[in-house]
């Protein structure tokens, strides 16, 4: 890898150094914009004891759900974990620890982790189970709780288009948690649908600068749809 060229040529190389008991921050919302192939590579590697922060935990047989089969996830930090029978059974049996985090707080915790903000106050979760054990404070007569930043040993994410320097563009709602997830990982690994030459992306239209990306790989994606809803013409 010379200069700013972030491209790696195999998924094995993309996740080299990922070890048991590490923390991984993952992009995606439901099955939309998830790093499908990076998740499959973690399954292939068999890395265990992982703490994973991701808005959802996939479904049975897809997305992060794949990592439940061989019990590779020790702890899940997520806002919504429905639609997953295996997840439910491992959570109920206590094999899988779950830290439910409000969606906006989760997004902001990842952003904070990438932005050198160790903690912030939010009204979200005040007076609820989420606020238990957390510092409460009043600002201008409203109640807030203190939430700490989230950082990972790795982050895995999916973007639409990248140049070789790792400058990224996302597509539609597949953007979701991906930009923040990337900023919050010590080693950020991003898979994309297309890699273009440097200079092809308009600097004003880059969603996330390549400085945050350590490794970049071109993948092909299934893009499974969770709820296919259509109207008739």
């Amino acid at each position: 890898m010379a200069g700013f060229d972030k491209v790696v040529n195999s998924y094995e190389e993309a996740l080299a150094g990922l070890e048991d008991n590490m923390t991984v921050i993952a992009g995606g919302f439901g099955l939309c914009g998830i790093p499908e192939n990076l998740i499959k590579e973690i399954k292939r590697k068999g890395t265990k004891g992982l703490t994973i922060a991701s808005n959802n935990a996939g479904v049975d047989g897809a997305g992060l759900g794949l990592l439940l089969v061989d019990k590779q996830i020790k702890k899940m930090i997520a806002s919504y974990v429905g639609e997953n029978a295996l997840f439910e059974s491992q959570m109920m049996s206590g094999e899988l620890e779950v830290e439910l985090t409000p969606q906006g707080t989760l997004a902001e915790k990842m952003r904070a982790g990438g932005a050198g903000i160790p903690a912030f106050y939010t009204a979200t979760g005040y007076g609820t189970p989420v606020g238990e054990g957390k510092e409460e404070r009043e600002f201008n007569g409203r109640h807030y709780i203190l939430e700490e930043a989230l950082q990972g040993d790795f982050s895995i994410a999916k973007a639409w288009k990248a140049d070789r320097f790792g400058n990224l563009m996302f597509r539609k709602t597949a953007r979701n948690f991906n930009p923040m997830a990337i900023t919050a990982g010590k080693i950020a690994v991003v898979e994309v649908e297309e890699i273009v030459e440097v200079g092809e992306l308009d600097p004003d239209e880059i969603h996330l600068p390549g400085i945050y990306v350590n490794r970049l790989i071109k993948g092909s994606f299934e893009k499974r749809i969770e709820q296919r809803t259509v109207r008739s013409a």
Partner: protein, 227 residues
């Protein structure tokens, strides 16, 4: 105290009444279920823009079969479309918008609401815990929230309490509740009855409201001018 509630609003009527809270130029976030139905009752001379907390402002209807795009879904993970003038952004930016109070109206469901403005909507202990998703951010961030729910459970237990029994989604943040029986504001620790569902008496509502209920004089029936 089982009560026969046959005269309440249908899901469609609740949605229709919710739509009357919309104003031209409102940015609105609608929860899954009844709130989403309200879209069908936006008057044709009014513009309302829907925020989907997964990163879309300007959500359109479901796609035609050939328009389906796996990269374009709503917060319920359903495939959707965008309206002209839509914009896309990250989850952090989406919740900055929500938490910062920039959304004009939020409509969402609940298991219980109490007259302190507390809401419980995400967790029933002992049952499967699926998570709060964006609901805690939505109730904490919005100034203008309408909760839509059934007034009582099927066996007649009130869901409008003096104090929520389930774990809270938000504390002291609900000011307006629309049920199949009534529209109520929450003021000074009391439910204030504003409108009755057609054919539902004040006494019926009283009987099914466990929290303190104030009846401010004559309570009008809801009207549905756009059926």
């Amino acid at each position: 105290m089982a009560t026969n509630v046959t005269t309440g609003l249908t899901r469609e009527q609740i949605a229709q009444r919710v739509a009357q809270e919309f104003q031209d130029g409102y940015y609105v976030n609608l929860g899954i279920g009844i709130p989403t139905l309200a879209v069908n009752y936006i008057p044709s001379d009014m513009q309302v823009m829907l925020q989907s907390e997964n990163g879309l402002l300007g959500m359109g209807p479901f796609p035609l079969d050939e328009e389906v795009d796996p990269d374009l879904i709503n917060a319920g993970k359903q495939t959707v479309t965008m309206v002209t003038g839509a914009s896309l952004f990250s989850s952090a930016d989406s919740f900055a918008m929500i938490r910062g109070g920039h959304v004009d109206l939020t409509v969402l469901g609940a298991f219980e609401v109490d007259c302190q403005g507390n809401i419980a909507s995400y967790m029933i202990p002992g049952k499967l815990i699926k998570g709060m998703g964006g609901a805690m951010d939505l109730v904490a961030g919005a100034d203008n929230i309408i909760v839509t729910m059934t007034h009582a459970s099927k066996d007649g237990q009130s869901k409008l309490l003096s104090e929520c029994t389930l774990p809270l989604t938000g504390k002291g943040c609900i000011k307006r509740v629309l049920t199949d029986l009534a529209l109520m504001d929450i003021e000074d620790g009391k439910f204030v009855l504003r409108e009755r569902a057609p054919g539902v008496s004040v006494d019926e509502i009283k009987a099914l409201t466990a929290g303190e209920l104030v009846i401010p004089g004559d309570v009008p029936e809801m009207t549905f001018n756009r059926p």
